[in-house]
Amino acid sequence: MAPGGPPPRRQVGHSLADAIVTDGLSKTYGRGRQLPLRPQAPIRALDGLSISVREGEVFGFLGPNGAGKSTTIRLLLGFLHPTAGQASILGRDAVTDSLEIRKHVGYLPGGIALYDSMTGEGILDYLAALYGESVPLREELVERLELSPADLRRPVRDYSRGMRQKIGIIQAIQHDPELLILDEPTEGLDPLMQRAFYEVLDERRKAGRTVFFSSHVLSEVERVCDRVAIIRAGKLVALSDVEELLTRRRRHVEIRYTGEPPALEGVAGITDVRVREGLVTAQLEGDVRPFLAAIRDAQVMDLLIEPARLEEAFLEFYSDQPAGPGAGSSTGAPGSSDAAADSSSGGTAA
């Protein structure tokens, strides 16, 4: 972007351009000035993160507390300065063009803090005025998140946790930003409001907006995200389509049969076959078609294939193994190989 010139409003939703790209992004705390009597060991909060988020997708960023999710978001928004590596957002450098970037980004911090003395409406007006833009989505969001005009006129100090979160969501989305960065967005929302929020996200995606979504609620990530990155101790351990991640997960299979047991040994994707009287159990990984072909001639009375859950994939990445790009692949964890390759090469995973 030419410095000083008006930012080009990018056409979103129809290209496969990247909304966010990080390349070897690292952050170490405690490397700067130290108090002589209280020296602290440096903490590597983020270690060589290389990911890309495509325009128009909902991207889930997973990891437990302290994994580096918030650090990443803060680096993207210019709150923190990277120790190494770089990041670009909407084609602009996250460090040098931070101000320009923030004109096109809506941000919901985790556990958002608001000005208690202001009314909900006052806060929304104030935060919108700082963008200097209109708020085309305010009315619709207020309605969908069931905030009444009376609610909006009350001081925020009287709000419940859920109502504060609703205000946080509205302030991030109301000006229809190109990129939404949401840190634990459904925290404090009841299930009905969570559903309403997912619908809002879905509409933003249909409108071609990009959503970067940090969470540790795996069911919601599974439900709303197109792709997901999993980080552990500041390192990327997996980056994959949610669909692919689930497809490649091992699923438990049970077959109740009469007569001869189905021959599953050697079938692609089938492991850990156990045959008992009238019951075969096995683990299924990947494409289900070879398995279905193998049981086609068997006298199957009942068939159970447990659905794959992101939670299992996530827990597998967080089992007791050394963190790092190779961690996932060392256990044969699905979805980890691409991340490992991307991360180790310092390139951009896509």
Partner: protein, 267 residues
């Protein structure tokens, strides 16, 4: 400078400003009245008891002349307290307080640079201080004429005193803001700024009451506002220059430091 943030800052502090303004106006009205009522008899008493003369010279002010009375009001703890709400309280809360509350990241997620935020807060703080000090001095002048001692005042010196006093409190404001941008929590920022102000004040008061310690006044910023002397027409431009230099150093530090700082997640 961000106009939206400026308007919001003014609105957020309007009640505190109003309370301080009322306090300073009342205080400003009171001193000429005290001088007109008791000043002469107190002066006669002091003349007859020289041992009290030095003790009556609090911070360069006294109650025996109109200029001394106004100077006493200027340096009195009441003025310091009311002005300190903005020079110290406002300045330290401005960034470190927002940071501790967690609202700073909501603000800085908007397209507003840290330097723009700093300038806006500085201008707002300086404006608060300027108006408050003007109200106190205006009250001094009004009360002086109301009680019939206005002829003892040289009105042309009042704006100079205002400017000199304003620069003093702006110096504290600059120090407070510099501390505020340097810490993630309010307590250290407030502690450092209060320490600077209180030590400076203590040095000035001690040196004014104790002739042998007169030299320590040079290390006090209050020493560079000689209110009585200024109202009597003896103004030292270098005093203002020194206060400007102090402010400039603190502003330069904050200007460099604030954009460089990492803003980690609120604790």
């Amino acid at each position: 400078m961000n106009c939206t943030l400026f308007r919001r800052t003014i609105a957020a502090y309007r009640i505190r400003f109003l309370a301080c303004a009322i306090g300073l106006v009342v205080w400003g009205l009171l001193l000429p009245v005290i001088y007109a009522s008791f000043g002469k008899s107190l002066g006669d008493f002091i003349k007859g008891n020289p041992a009290f003369a030095q003790l009556a010279n609090f911070g360069g002010g006294d109650l025996f002349t109109l200029s001394g009375s106004i100077a006493l009001g200027f340096i009195h703890p009441i003025t310091l307290l009311l002005m300190g709400i903005f020079a110290v309280g406002f300045s330290t809360v401005a960034v470190a307080g927002e940071r501790q509350r967690g609202t700073l990241e909501v603000l800085l997620a908007r397209p507003i640079s840290r330097r723009s935020m700093y300038v806006t807060l500085f201008v707002a703080g300086a404006a608060f201080l300027g108006v408050l000090l003007a109200l106190e001095l205006a009250s001094n002048v009004v009360a002086s004429y109301a009680v019939g001692v206005g002829s003892e005042l040289r009105p042309e010196t009042v704006p100079i005193l205002w400017l000199n006093g304003w620069l003093l409190f702006v110096a504290f404001l600059s120090i407070g803001l510099a501390a505020s941008v340097s810490f993630d929590r309010l307590a250290p920022a407030l502690g450092i700024t209060l320490t600077v102000v209180l030590i400076s004040y203590l040095l000035n008061v001690v040196s004014s009451l104790w002739p042998d310690a007169r030299w320590i006044a040079n290390y006090s910023l209050f020493n560079y506002v000689e209110a009585k002397s200024t109202l009597e027409g003896n103004f030292h431009p270098l005093d203002m220059v020194l206060l400007l230099v102090v402010s400039a150093v603190a502003i330069a530090y904050a200007w460099i430091e604030f954009p460089r700082r990492d803003i980690a997640a609120p604790s």
